[in-house]
């Protein structure tokens, strides 16, 4: 019953889009539209949650749309329900945020019509149950988000981002299209039930996996297909960035899971796991390293999305490896970790992007070097952002830590894997994961510290005001969820159980909710346990007791004074550490290898009045080695061919003549 409900629900945002096309210029149009999307997303969230928890059998539905002889198949199973929760949660919060944020939009007619469509598109991807509807919705999602990226198109950088985004999206869709072409076979059995039923040769299966990696990976931002992501996500309005980064990448991951774990089915080859694992590890570390080099807050967050996608794919790769060796219990753990991280990342990444949006409205700045000290004018935003930063840095007792802890546990039970390559690969990836976690912490100390702490570096930052109440509500909903998921992980794991067992041949983790103190006990025989609730309790207890005791027994006096700073307090905020200088040690350690980072210092001789200059050169290896050559090749070839436009008529006639003679000769020789 809930499936038709959901589908019917999706008509509402589409209607809202149409309405917005007509009435975008009206003052209260944005409030109306976002109100509608908020309501729709909340309802969808409720339905999906109900379906997931009551854990009924999948629902299917067939509408006379799409491919005429096939119809449009829809299906609501545990997997779809889980991702529906992720999508609609993000959508609801983004809409809530936009109720306030949308008021500041300069070009509402370029945002309002596409936002609901974008939301509907993502929902549709999750519900689609045949190749055509799936790709239709997939591409529709890309298209609407492209329109949102192009909302502020007058900035050439945004236009370029949008172009790159759409081309990469088309590339991904074509890859998926080929994959489905293989899965459907020559008979054209495009509906997923037929695909599941039909067997496929190992060679083709491997090809499908590769294509799925290309297609879904390019949308999720898997290195080296990530280049569009850090350009496109920041270009959109912040609540859209939150959706694209926090939610749409998850839809991409859904595509990968659906194809590889569900449609492809058995047999799984072990090296698939290895491949995905390696890609995940590389993506995680490169993503965070890129992020460390950024000064643009939104771009930094976008690169962190790349990193987290890497972590998710590490979990998925482990699961594949385990499944290939029929170790379903372990696969369950890995899958749980991946899905948990999907949920977590959607939470804190949305939170962080929305926080950035609040900063953006307050100061009009995305460049950290021009911000600073925002914790004073906007303490609540700062608090929410801080929680998000701590969560994404995988600090207990917040949710980011739980999923990484689960991933580590999955890695730790992997020595049973028989294949040698995996034996070497898994610990190496573990090291990469640990490294990326530590670097992420460093990066968010930088992000939060430079943006919110210290003293204001620009007039814009000094004149900042706290953001509106809708935005704050949205921020704190997400912050609360981050904390809850962190201290009650057992419940989340139980919620994920049906999804895991669906993808994992029935195997799942042991039920968690009746463990003492809601402790997280992934595998019984391995007695590794974690209890976020108690950690929080202990910390709160000890912290408060310490505070109370000290204030009671010792002094509680405070005197404000100038900063000491080893005796020479600097009046000028420009003397503070900047984002660039904060990243300098890490840049020296890692950047010099990965990005050929060079520091150029120009020190004028004494008496020369020119200012001293310090410049950092960074090279993006992937763009310079991978993408630029392709672009140049296309330009070169098309320029080479272009002269064909200016031949004389005689030449054109000769071409036809040549073709004719050629074909005639062919006929003569053909016999």
């Amino acid at each position: 019953m809930s499936l038709p409900l959901l589908l019917g629900l999706l008509l509402i945002p589409l209607a809202a889009s149409v309405y917005a096309v007509a009435a975008a210029r009206q003052p209260d149009c944005s409030r109306r539209v976002y109100g509608v999307t908020l309501a729709v997303a909340a309802t969808g969230l409720g339905i999906a949650l109900a379906h997931l928890l009551t854990a009924s059998t999948p629902e299917t539905l067939k509408l006379p749309l799409g491919l005429p002889w096939l119809g449009a198949h829809f299906r609501l199973d545990a997997l779809a329900a889980f991702f529906l929760i992720v999508v609609n949660l993000g959508g609801a919060v983004a809409s809530l945020f936009a109720l306030g944020y949308g008021q500041h939009e300069k070009a509402p007619e370029r945002v309002l019509p596409f936002f609901p469509a974008f939301l509907a598109g993502m929902n549709l991807v999750l519900l689609a149950d045949d190749a055509f509807s799936f790709l239709f919705a997939w591409e529709f999602m890309s298209l609407s988000s492209w329109a949102l990226v192009m909302a502020h198109h007058q900035d050439p950088a945004n236009a370029r981002a949008g172009y790159l985004y759409l081309v990469m999206a088309c590339f991904g869709t074509l890859a998926l299209l080929l994959a489905f072409g293989l899965l459907a076979g020559t008979s054209g059995g495009y509906d997923f039930d037929t695909v599941r039923a039909s067997a496929i040769t190992p060679g083709f299966a491997a090809l499908v996996l590769a294509l799925a990696l290309l297609g879904a990976g390019s949308k999720a931002g898997l290195v080296p297909l990530h280049v569009w992501l850090p350009l496109a996500h920041p270009a959109a309005p912040s609540h859209v960035s939150a959706l694209m980064s926090g939610v749409m990448t998850k839809v991409a991951v859904y595509g990968f899971i659906r194809i590889v774990f569900d449609l492809l089915g058995e047999p799984v080859l072990w090296w698939w796991g290895g491949l995905v694992l390696a890609l995940g590890g590389i993506t995680a570390v490169l993503g965070v390293l890129y992020a460390l080099m950024q000064h643009d807050l939104k771009r930094l967050l976008a690169y962190h999305t790349v990193e987290n996608i890497g972590i998710i794919f590490i979990g998925l790769g482990l699961a594949l490896a385990f499944q290939a060796n029929l170790m379903y219990a372990s696969a369950a753990l890995a899958l749980t970790a991946a899905l948990f991280h999907i949920l977590n990342h959607s939470l804190f990444k949305s939170l962080l992007f929305l926080g950035t949006g609040a900063v953006l409205t307050a100061t009009g700045e995305r460049d950290m070097e021009k911000l600073g000290g925002l914790i004073h004018p906007m303490p609540w935003t700062a608090l929410a952002f801080l929680i998000g930063a701590a969560a994404i840095s995988a600090l207990p007792p917040l949710n980011g830590f739980v999923s990484e802890w689960l991933t580590f546990q999955a890695i730790l039970i992997s020595p049973e894997l028989p294949q040698w390559l995996l034996k070497f690969l898994v610990p190496a990836v573990g090291a990469l994961l640990a490294l990326s976690a530590a670097l992420a912490a460093a990066c968010f100390v930088k992000a939060f510290g430079i943006t919110f702490l210290g003293r204001a570096r620009s007039p814009a930052a000094t004149q900042a005001r706290e953001t509106d109440r809708y935005s704050l509500a949205a921020l704190f909903v997400l912050a609360a969820l981050c904390l809850l998921a962190g201290i009650l992980p057992g419940l989340v794991v139980d919620g994920l159980a049906p999804v895991v067992s669906l993808l994992n041949g029935g195997a799942r983790l042991i039920p968690q909710h009746h463990q003492p103190w809601l402790t997280l006990v992934p595998v019984v025989d391995v007695k590794s346990t974690y209890n976020g609730l108690l950690v929080l309790l202990f910390m709160a207890l000890s912290g408060t007791t310490a505070a109370v005791l000290i204030h009671r027994l010792a002094s509680s006096a405070v005197r404000r004074g100038p900063a000491w700073d080893c005796g020479f307090p600097d009046a000028n905020p420009a003397f503070q550490y900047t984002a660039g200088s904060f990243a300098q040690p890490i840049r020296r350690v890692f950047g010099s290898v990965v990005f050929q980072a060079r520091e150029r210092v120009f020190m004028p001789p004494p008496g020369d009045l020119r200012p001293a200059r310090f410049k950092i050169e960074l090279h993006d290896p992937i763009w310079e080695r991978g993408y630029a050559p392709i672009a140049h090749a296309v330009v070169a070839v098309s320029t080479r061919f272009n002269y064909l436009q200016y031949l004389t008529i005689r030449r054109y006639l000769s071409v036809v003549f040549g073709a004719l003679v050629l074909l005639l000769l062919g006929m003569v020789l053909w016999r």
Binding site: Q645, Y646, I649, R650, S654, F657, V661, M667, R671
Partner: protein, 221 residues
Amino acid sequence: MHGLAFDIAHFLAGGMVVVSFLMLYQDRLSALINVFALHSLVLVLAVGWQATIQDAHHLYVTAGIALVFKAIIIPTALHRIVRRLGIHRTLEVVGGVGLDMLAGAALVALAILVMLPVTATTDALAREDLAFALAVLLLGLLLMITRQNAVSLVVGFMSLENGLVLAAAGARGMPLAVEISIAFSVLIALIVIGVFLFRIRERFDSVDMQAMDTFREERRK
């Protein structure tokens, strides 16, 4: 009798090929036009002969049209145009006559080769005719691409089209042959080319097609 009929038809069709070679050989415009008139004349004879031996009377119409338009009106018109434009200089033959001849020979060979596998169910006459027609067609095309001048281009095209008419006539009892030849001769030969050459003369003071390869804005980019 049939043998003789066959031989004559064969002779006439072959004659057209030879005349096509003559056209390839020409490098003066007026001479080219004259040879084209001859070409058309041979065509008329061929078609007329076909009409008699197939006793398909509508072919006489086709022959008549060909005679009136292609052998008389168009050549004179072309002569007038040439004179009015004052193009009496020799026109450079791309690649030289000798090469053209070689290419032409190769084309004729190709035409015959292509026609060989055609089973003898279609009567031999049609087959031979077809081979020659194809040869004429290809030679006409060759003429078009080896000359630079609009007039000679048109001439080449019309010789090509003569080949077509020959083929149509050779096809025993082909309906609409008249209509088709009319469609061709009237529409192409008179209206369009006339109009065009007139217009072109208006715009460019030569009919040399090099002058027509104007620069377009893409090239400046």
